[in-house]
Symmetry: C2
Subunit: 338 residues, 2 copies
């Protein structure tokens, strides 16, 4: 039993060059202070590990300010309100999700936290298929990708938290879906379990040949989570008026040299195609509508969701690095409930 | 006086690596054959020289098939119908514009030729501001760039046939317009004569510093004719929901190594921006509407148009190369009337 008055926090200690190493974060213990009026104490249960977190610890401002050295590492989380003081937004016993950070307890007045229903879905779903990754997939493929029935959809990171949902939504909408993933296990998973029409193993296949084989008439939508060589190959096969959704570029996040830009970008010109970036936060006003739809699909058995859960805040870095080694299946989660 | 029964033609002889050289085209003389029923003989007056022509002589299919070795070099042109046989689309004396090619005479049944009014505008305008370059500018900035009043518009190739028109249309629509061009003469021209709000001399200024100075709040629309380093710099300064119009990439057309892709393309993600390619041919059904509007702006003195005219079909290659050396001002035209 750990001491209930102690908060365990992963603090950003030093900005990494390349992959985060043992100097990047430091696990510290701090005493929980008395709450002020309006504050709540949240006992965190699960933390979401996402590729975007790598970007937040760079110096440069991205779509949100960087995590400062000395601050608790930013992360999406879900937990339970266990104490309140004065008038608060949530009450003791409520389950909430928000930017709880990589720490076992979180003190907040509730800004950007949302109450969730632990009866309707497993708690961890609220940082996964019903949280940011799920919302990213939903709005990315529907609103940015603008898929319509019969479209050929190619996606990278296809076995991941976002990609697996993107592909399944595209299938629900009547598209032909080809996923790119690393290794036979993941490729079997997306075709056999998720019902994709085809899988490309980028670690063992020639990308151009494989895309040509699976998409002989080209691609209407390419949903990109990885950037680099895979993006470049996909661009070659765009059809007229194709849409490229730029959701992430995991292959480039730890690059210490300059980024690799898409050499074949003039395919956009030749094919009158577009490449559009997205940030899920923009769709916050419509999250609840999307969550409702996703929940229905899950209940109907149309949307399968898989988690890969690891334990212990002390294992944060090692677990986080699985995102970049690819050594995980489905949504990567750290359970930190003490 | 040249022989009226002889056609002078620039034939594609050998596909170039890099810049076209003296082996790329060959000037030949051929006898004009008797017309068949429905055919017209056009005495060509002006030929349009455009960067896109470089792409047409590569082996690879682009948005139109490549010019084949042995064929007359493709080019837009304007000329006069001087002979017809049987029932024809146009009559003797009509002025027409179309894909006449780099030759002094052209025999056609009139497919993809349009009659023009030599009274309403100088003949050469129909391959310039009222032709492809003008249409590219019009639809590119209005329909792809989706400019609105108050937008900050940055454009490259700003003193060129397309860029100069893009910038002026953006000014007419109430945008703040900054042009990028090579050398003081061109920069003075776009600010003093065309009324742009600022000019950046990419040959003598640090691009990032200069864009920052001229567009301290960033860019809403970047209209790209050049690609390469300039595109990369522009991407850094995108504002939220910015639009990048990919019209061309003249810096890359003669590259013998692989293309340089836009290293900073993730700015699209961070800024929820889009990059879209365009091909003017798609807008053909709306050309006449656009031409009417452009003609009005010219008459009202709101749209200034400058031509750089050279003489003689034998000077085709040397003149064409001015597009890539930058040694020209305004729309580059070859006068070939014999």
């Amino acid at each position: 039993m750990k001491n209930k008055n102690i908060n365990h926090q992963q603090i950003l200690k030093k900005r990494p060059q390349g992959l985060p190493d043992k100097d990047t974060w430091e696990l510290i213990e701090t005493d929980l202070k008395e709450l002020s009026d309006g504050e709540m104490l949240i006992a965190q249960e699960y933390i979401s590990l996402d590729p975007a977190m790598r970007g937040w610890i760079n110096q440069t401002r991205s779509y949100i300010p960087p995590v400062e050295v000395g601050d608790v590492m930013r992360a999406g989380s879900v937990g339970k309100v266990i104490k309140t003081k004065g008038k608060t937004v949530f009450k003791v016993g409520d389950y909430v999700t928000g930017w709880g950070g990589v720490q076992t307890y979180c003190v907040t007045k509730g800004e950007n936290f949302y109450k969730v229903d632990s009866e309707k879905a497993p708690l961890s779903y609220y940082i996964g298929v019903l949280g940011m990754p799920g919302m990213t997939a939903y709005f990315g493929i529907l609103e940015v990708g603008e898929i319509k029935e019969g479209d050929v959809v190619l996606l990278s990171g296809a076995a991941g938290a976002v990609g697996s949902v993107v592909g399944q939504i595209a299938k629900i909408k009547g598209c032909r879906v080809i996923g790119i993933a690393g290794g036979k296990t993941k490729c079997d998973y997306i075709t056999e379990k998720l019902g994709f029409d085809g899988a490309i193993d980028y670690k063992n296949e020639n990308l151009n040949d494989a895309i040509k084989k699976h998409c002989p008439k080209g691609i209407d939508v390419y949903f990109d989570n990885v950037g680099g060589e895979i993006l470049d190959s996909a661009l070659i096969f765009l059809r007229k008026k194709a849409r490229v959704v730029i959701c992430g570029a995991i292959s480039q996040y730890n690059s210490v040299s300059s980024m690799k830009g898409p050499t074949n970008y003039l395919s956009l010109l030749v094919n009158r195609a577009s490449m559009r970036g997205m940030v899920v936060l923009d769709y916050a006003p419509k999250y609840s509508e999307a969550m409702k739809q996703m929940a229905i699909w899950i209940l109907e058995g149309k949307l399968f969701y898989k988690e890969d859960v690891y334990n212990g805040i002390e294992n944060f870095r090692e677990t986080f690095l699985r995102l970049f080694s690819g050594d995980k299946m489905g949504k990567l989660i750290l359970k930190i409930k003490e």
